[in-house]
């Protein structure tokens, strides 16, 4: 029977689960981010302004989530090694005790807690459809009306009626679709956080002592950190949705303004015809085109507003990249773990058998020392 406050086999099993979870489930997050949330091949026109930032941000966060996955997988590996070390200590203690007394009992670990089974959620990322041409639906009627009278407006003003709306090129529903992909990423991170917290609690049920407490703190930090991380892709979705929504509203209003232009120009065209029929009318046509210019200028201003809001969203998406390194999922586990190691070493040392492998038991202690820095820290791979 183990004298240690740990169910070694279950700790090892949880470590293996943590590792598999990190490599597989959490590991899928980075690729999903790069492939789905970072897709920009369907963006053109004014969307070219923001597309590189969307792509780059997806790469930054995708790589960052790869690091997170390595931290989680490394945590599992560390738990397995810790379980192995406990087993070696247990064996050394039992062997030392055999010198003085006959051992009794089984070789199974004593149940010390109520740790539940490993639990895990799978949140898939999926491709989100776009509307192939939302602009055509909005401007279709206007385009039909403009053909017969555009020459009138051009003759009096030098402009073509649809110039402003023709400048607003780009399918804003691609932004909505990419936003949904970022929302998928957020759901994945939240689920990972839930799983880490749940399984940290499970480990807590089969492992007592200072090292276990340290791991518990680490796990809670990791889980809470993942929950905090899940807010960032949601915010990116919000930014993309805001842009898509304003773009569509501006586009619709631009069409409405140009329909007002068309209305005035139609009256102007009729005035020209009346001029042919009864000898007067050219002045009325000129006046109507002059009135139409007010709505036309407002429509052109909308073009600039669309550009400005895209630029603002572009800056926001770029700004989110800085948040990838903001959060520290786990810090300073080593002190407590070192204390536990010392106790173990002392125990074994007193028995005259200090295995070399105890020299560095603090696998967990070397876990994330910088922002999601586990993979870069020694002892975690």
């Amino acid at each position: 029977m183990s004298e240690l406050q740990v169910e070694i086999a279950r700790l090892r099993a949880f470590g293996a689960h943590f590792h598999t979870f990190g490599v597989g489930n959490v590991g899928a997050t980075g690729q999903a981010t790069r492939v789905e949330a970072g897709q920009t091949a369907d963006m053109d026109g004014l969307l070219d302004i923001i597309a590189p930032a969307i792509h780059e941000t997806a790469l930054v966060f995708g790589d960052h989530y790869d690091d997170v996955a390595k931290v989680v997988a490394g945590t599992g590996a560390a738990l397995v090694r810790t379980a192995d070390d406990y087993a070696k200590v247990d064996h050394a203690v039992a062997r030392a005790m055999d010198k003085e007394a006959v051992s009794v009992g089984s070789q199974t670990d004593a149940a010390i807690g109520s740790g539940g089974p490993w639990s895990e959620h799978q949140v898939p990322a999926s491709y989100h459809d776009i509307d192939p041409d939302p602009a055509r639906r909005i401007r279709g009627g206007m385009d039909a009306d403009v053909r017969a009278i555009d020459w009138v407006f051009h003759k009096f003003t030098g402009h073509h009626i649809t110039e402003p709306i023709d400048a607003i090129v780009g399918n804003w529903t691609t932004l909505t679709a990419r936003g949904e992909s970022w929302a998928d990423v957020s759901r994945m991170l939240r689920a990972h956080g839930d799983d880490v917290l749940a399984n940290t609690a499970n480990v807590d049920g089969i492992w007592d002592g200072v090292a276990a407490t340290s791991f518990h703190e680490y796990g809670v930090r990791l889980g809470n950190g993942l929950h905090a991380e899940s807010e960032v892709p949601l915010a990116i979705q919000h930014a993309l949705d805001q842009l898509a929504e304003k773009w569509e509203s501006l586009y619709k209003q631009c069409v409405s303004l140009l329909e007002s232009v068309i209305h005035d120009v139609e009256i102007g065209a009729v005035a020209l015809a009346a001029g042919w029929w009864c000898g007067v009318g050219e002045a009325v046509a000129a006046k109507k085109c002059e009135e139409a210019l007010v709505a036309f200028y407002r429509a052109y201003k909308i073009v600039m507003l669309v550009k400005h809001v895209i630029t603002a969203a572009d800056l926001a998406v770029k700004g989110f990249q800085k948040l990838a390194d903001l959060y520290h999922l786990a810090t300073h586990v080593p002190e407590a773990v070192d204390l536990e190691i010392t106790k173990l070493t002392d125990l074994v040392g007193a028995l005259g058998s200090t295995p070399e492998h105890l020299d560095n038991l603090s696998h967990l202690g070397d876990t994330p020392m910088t922002a999601y820095g586990g993979p870069r820290a020694p002892g975690i791979a």
């Binding site: 026109g45 070219d48 809470n224 805001q242 009864c278 109507k288 210019l293 709505a295 407002r298 809001v309």
Partner: protein, 152 residues
């Protein structure tokens, strides 16, 4: 135990602030344009145009569609606003088609004085030609930057 990670909302809000300011500005512009359009839509065809159409309807060269519409207008069965709102049925459609074709036949190649840009238009605060040039330049630069993503 306090979470190791800071509350992300403050950092997120800071990133989103310029976008929020821009969307609020857009909200004001949308409201201004909506008010402008409401005024424009509530306007009726002016007396100058009504008189012109009545005069033209009496012309021997006027199309039948115009004469029929003019009689309906006099009878109070519809208004010239109905005609220009495309609510005057087949006669309205036929008249507009006749008028647009007549105008194009006789004025497409004519020299006309350019329309004046009113103070109301200038108050919008943009120059269409400058905006068009700026957008064309922006699109070309953005296209090149986006292309680099796929062809670095």
């Amino acid at each position: 135990m306090p979470p190791a990670s800071p509350d992300p909302r403050a950092a997120i809000d800071a990133v989103l602030e310029p976008l929020r300011e821009e969307t609020e500005r857009i909200g004001r512009e949308l409201a201004s344009n909506s008010a402008f359009l409401e005024v424009r839509r509530s306007r009726c065809v002016g007396p100058e145009t009504r008189d012109l159409l009545s005069l033209a309807a009496d012309s021997p060269s006027a199309p039948d569609s115009l004469r029929r519409l003019a009689r309906q207008v006099v009878a109070g069965e519809l208004t010239w606003d109905d005609v220009f709102a495309h609510r005057a049925g087949p006669d309205g459609t036929a008249f507009l088609s006749d008028a647009f074709a007549t105008a194009q036949d006789h004025f497409a190649d004519a020299r006309v004085p350019p329309a004046t840009v009113s103070d109301e238009a200038l108050d919008v605060g943009i120059d269409p030609d400058e905006v068009a040039a700026d957008i064309a330049r922006t699109r070309a630069e953005a296209r090149a930057a986006h292309d680099e993503v796929f062809r670095p």
